[in-house]
């Protein structure tokens, strides 16, 4: 479903070139639950951003469903992010001016889904993650764990095939973290491909396959 070919990303820091990714070749199959583990600065988040079409590589390519993402324009990349992917961030990244149900409905809004349909589905998704009684709360009125569950509901709003989590448990306590990983496992059982980046081996243990990264390289 997803594979990378000699994926390389170089950041410039003053005169120095920093290799965030070096010739990464990785294949992720449909329906897989993969955890990418590594210390901070290992390049795991950069890899995730490339796979999630948030960032463009310096060289090499990312293929999604055999389409080279380098050949797509900005709007086509936005469409992939909107229709095929669901993002969960360490910082939750909810829009703080909107309440829970509006946040969840936001990707559907950009997809052009009708207002009633959108709000109804957003409400269902919130009920599914156990926040049925919090749908009109603003992010500032929710705990970290609750915010992350809103973010998961939002990631699912356009029914994506791939769910991407960048340290999804990084800002919550262990119990909440485990609960979140349980939700992700459930999503995997529904047939979705789950890609999670973490530095926590315990969290990575929820995944079917684990890949370790160091200095921009994927280790075997």
């Amino acid at each position: 479903m997803i594979h990378t070919e000699n994926l390389t990303k170089i950041y410039r820091m003053g005169d120095a070139e920093v290799y965030a990714l070096r010739d990464v070749n990785l294949e992720i199959k449909e329906g897989e639950f993969i955890a990418i583990i590594g210390s901070s600065g290992s390049g795991k988040s950069t890899l995730l951003n490339m796979i999630g079409c948030l960032d463009t590589p310096t060289s090499g390519s990312v293929f999604i469903d055999n389409v080279n993402t380098a050949s797509l324009n900005e709007n086509e990349l936005a469409e992939i992010r909107r229709e095929k992917m669901g993002f969960i961030f360490q910082q939750f990244n909810l829009v703080h001016t909107l309440n829970a149900v509006e946040n969840v409905a936001l990707p559907m809004f950009f997809a052009g889904v009708k207002r009633e349909t959108r709000l109804k589905r957003a409400e269902e998704l919130l009920v599914n993650v156990g926040l049925g009684d919090r749908i009109y709360h603003k992010p500032s009125e929710l705990s970290g764990g609750q915010q992350q569950r809103v973010a998961i509901a939002r990631a699912l709003s356009n029914d994506p095939e791939i769910v991407i989590g960048d340290e999804p448990t990084g800002n919550v306590d262990t119990d909440t973290g485990n609960a979140i990983m349980d939700i992700l496992e459930g999503l995997n059982k529904e047939g979705r491909t789950i890609i999670v980046v973490t530095h926590d081996a315990e969290i990575a243990a929820h995944a079917g396959r684990t890949k370790r990264m160091r200095d921009g390289r994927v280790l075997d």
């Binding site: 951003n49 999630g52 948030l54 960032d55 900005e74 709007n75 936005a78 469409e79 992010r81 909107r82 229709e83 993002f87 961030f89 910082q91 990244n93 909810l94 829009v95 703080h96 001016t97 909107l98 936001l106 990707p107 809004f109 950009f110 997809a111 207002r115 939002r154 990631a155 356009n158």
Partner: protein, 396 residues
């Protein structure tokens, strides 16, 4: 679309104080335009309205208008007056003589303009529209009597002049038989600072029989321009000059005043435009700050699938809404300010003036507000839309 409005509204509300300040910035600019334009139109209407009441008059002067200044080239003769009288379509004609002379009142001296003419004809031009406050108008045989304007009576000398007071005009003694009311705007320059004498008295005092000014009243306003041309031709022939006489119809005066007001309005709008430029910089600043603050939010929106055009339209909508509200507030405030100014001006200057609020000025004000809002919102909006999602998400 409704949801985009809602989203834009939310983020305006989120930054309430700043949004209100931005709205005020625009509103001040628009209010300045609307009020200045409305007051300008009001002034124009007050003046041309009075002129229209005098549309049957033609004033003839021995001189030409060069640029915006009047240059006197000499004076008319009795023959000129007789020739003008012969032109068909003329109802009344008054030949006037005037000049500045020294006037003494209770040992105080001042140079004042003397205006002399046929008392009946002069009276028909000035007495009805201005009115006599004290005493009466001149009679044919009032060789030693005079009627004075409001400023002569009240302003020119330390002591106020009343009926039966004595003046010494160029050494000759005169008795004041009447005092004019304070004249309205149109007549103020003609009546207030002048002393009116019979033709004979004025010719004696000024030691001349020159005619400096001919006023003509005609039957048919439609013929005004034609008659004015005939008058000019007749007098120019007498003097053998091309551009000697200048016959002005009220129509052409209204036109000239219109020109003057266009210039005044241009200046006023120019001033208001500066206010608008400041306001638009204000919007741009607000929106740029908003974009910087929301780098993260923009990144999140893009990460969850917003296209660049979605972000662009959201931000444009935001600045558009702010400036629309600013435009509405500005129009309302502008109308109120215009009313207050014209009320104040009427009371202070003693003229009838009401602000004229033209719908096209209001519509124009709104349009300007929207254009300013969208244009100054465009740069920040484009900046926002071009943000890379990963840069934005990383930003904290």
């Amino acid at each position: 679309m409704r949801d985009k409005f809602l989203l834009a509204y939310r983020s305006i509300k989120e930054r309430r104080t700043r949004s209100i300040l931005t709205v005020l910035g625009i509103a001040v600019g628009i209010a300045a335009i609307v009020s200045l334009m409305s007051v300008g139109y009001g002034m124009e209407e007050a003046i041309t309205g009075e002129l229209t009441g005098m549309a049957d008059m033609i004033s003839v002067m021995p001189g030409k208008i060069a640029g915006h200044a009047y240059v006197e080239l000499g004076s008319f003769t009795d023959r000129d007056v007789k020739d003008v009288q012969r032109i068909s379509g003329i109802k009344d004609i008054t030949a006037m003589t005037y000049d500045a002379v020294e006037v003494e009142y209770r040992n105080e001296r001042a140079p004042i303009f003397i205006l002399g003419g046929d008392t009946k004809e002069l009276g028909s031009f000035y007495v009805d529209p201005v009115g006599i406050k004290e005493g009466r108008w001149l009679r044919e045989n009032d060789y030693k009597g005079c009627v004075i304007g409001d400023r002569v009576a009240n302003d020119f000398f330390d002591e106020v002049i009343h009926v039966n007071d004595k003046l010494e005009i160029n050494g000759a003694k005169f008795v004041v038989v009447g005092v004019f009311e304070k004249a309205s705007t149109m007549y103020a320059a003609d009546v207030d600072p002048h002393i009116f004498l019979t033709l004979r008295a004025s010719q004696e005092v000024l030691q001349t029989d020159e005619v400096k000014y001919i006023m003509v009243r005609i039957y048919d306003i439609e013929e005004a321009e034609e008659i004015a041309e005939e008058i000019e031709e007749a007098i120019n022939d007498n003097h053998g000059l091309d551009d000697f006489a200048n016959a002005m119809t009220m129509g052409s005066m209204i036109e000239q005043i219109g020109d003057v007001f266009n210039i005044i309005r241009g200046v006023l709008v120019g001033i208001a435009a500066i206010a608008l430029v400041v306001a638009s910089i204000g919007i741009m600043n607000t929106m740029l700050m908003s974009v910087m603050e929301r780098t993260h939010e923009i990144g999140v929106m893009k990460a969850i699938g917003a296209k660049s055009s979605d972000v662009l339209s959201l931000f444009l909508l935001e600045s558009g809404m702010v400036s629309l509200v600013g435009g509405v507030v500005g129009c309302v405030v502008g109308v109120i300010v215009a009313k207050v100014i014209s009320f104040g001006a009427s009371a202070a200057l003693g003229i009838e003036m009401t602000a004229v609020v033209k719908p096209e000025v209001l519509l124009g004000g709104m349009a300007v507000a929207m254009v300013v809002g969208v244009l100054s919102g465009f740069y920040p909006a484009r900046k926002a839309s071009r943000m890379s999602p990963v840069e934005a998400v990383r930003y904290e």
